[in-house]
């Protein structure tokens, strides 16, 4: 570490190698103590097309745990075949799958924090695909066992 790294100035310091701001002395001290992952989301610059900040790494982990729990529930429900009506199993599985899909799209793909244009594209395509293929499958008699 050079003297410049330990200075107590509050002015951002220019990094000669990367031509970027390396932060103030307080910020460097905090990074040294907690690591860069601990920088709160509101201090991270917004990417183009974003309206608000992404979740923190900890929140990402919490969402992953929720996804794992729902997956475990899905597998558990699938083993109830024969014990409860198949219609109920299908509704439960589709519901849990939808929750997982929405969680990934909202938080990991950042549709919740991005400009609405992305959300509109995705919803339009997903809903359009579901409707289109439901019509096709219904026309071909999938639900009534026809051919």
């Amino acid at each position: 570490m050079s003297d410049a790294d330990t200075t107590t100035t509050t002015e951002p310091v220019q990094d000669p190698d990367h031509n970027m701001l390396v932060g103030t002395a307080e910020e460097r001290e905090r990074e040294k103590k907690y690591g860069l992952q601990e920088i709160p989301p509101e201090e991270v610059p917004l990417l183009p097309g974003e309206l608000s900040h992404h979740p923190s790494p900890f929140q990402y982990v919490v969402i992953a745990m929720i996804l794992v729990v729902i997956t475990a529930l899905e597998v558990g429900v699938s083993y109830l075949e024969g014990d409860i009506p198949n219609g109920l199993i299908i509704v439960l599985l589709l519901g849990m799958g939808l929750v997982k899909l929405v969680l990934v799209a909202s938080y990991y793909m950042h549709l919740k924090t991005d400009k609405p244009v992305f959300r509109r594209f995705f919803i339009m395509a997903a809903v359009g695909a579901i409707f289109l293929y439901l019509i096709v499958l219904t026309t071909l008699g999938v639900w009534d066992g026809g051919s």
Partner: protein, 212 residues
């Protein structure tokens, strides 16, 4: 040392200012970068592609002669590979969070972890296909075999493309050619990767878990 050399954005004035989109990006009339918009349009078209294949599987399911899905599916094994793909989505967003904080060491770790999870998933798929073949289900056995291999095989191809993409990003980061200002590059690859995960969420539910 890497962490200390390239520090995160300072707060205050920088905090809510969108970072530059990267080399060669310009202001657009939509207010979003063309690359990100293009990726979303591509992903939207993929919804229709995978929707068609899932619909085809549903159409032929239960109408085949011979071996049926219930005879060959190994739900505990597929659940494990699904869990691995979910974890890869977590490591992918952690890679994005790391590069946004100019933490290049963690960026590389999470990118490699994501690629490795993807490789394990593909390995699982190869094992599953091998087992199915041993049990007599091949792509030309019956309608179930054809639609199943086409759907899951195309998904596996998407995962493979994602792995190559992730490893190339890891290489760029290692060479120092991917910096904090290029965070959107990681985000766009992440959009692709998460979409592949979303598609698997649907396939796992509709193809593997829903009873006949």
């Amino acid at each position: 040392m890497e962490q200390a050399a390239i520090a995160p954005p300072a707060g205050g004035a920088h905090a809510s200012t969108p970072v530059h989109a990267g080399h060669g990006e310009h202001e657009t009339s939509t207010g979003v970068t063309n690359t990100k918009l293009a990726m979303w349009i591509f992903l939207s078209s993929e919804c229709l592609l995978f929707g068609a294949l899932i619909a085809t599987y549903l159409l032929y399911r239960g109408r085949s002669k011979g071996i049926e899905p219930a005879d060959v599916y190994n739900i505990p094994f597929t659940s494990a590979t699904s869990f691995i793909l979910l974890m890869s989505s977590l490591t992918m967003v952690l890679a994005l969070a790391a590069i946004q904080r100019a933490d290049y060491r963690r960026t590389k770790i999470w990118l490699v972890a994501t690629a490795l999870f993807g490789m394990v998933f593909i390995g699982g798929q190869v094992y599953e296909f091998t087992e199915f073949t041993r049990k007599g289900v091949t792509v030309d056995t019956n309608l179930f075999g054809s639609s199943f291999y086409l759907l899951t095989g195309l998904h596996g191809l998407h995962v493979t493309v994602g792995i190559v993409w992730l490893l190339s990003l890891w290489g760029l980061t290692t060479q120092g050619r991917l910096q904090q200002k290029d965070s959107e590059t990681i985000e766009i690859s992440g959009l692709y990767w998460h979409f592949v995960d979303v598609v698997w969420i649907v396939i796992f539910t509709v193809v593997y878990l829903i009873p006949m």
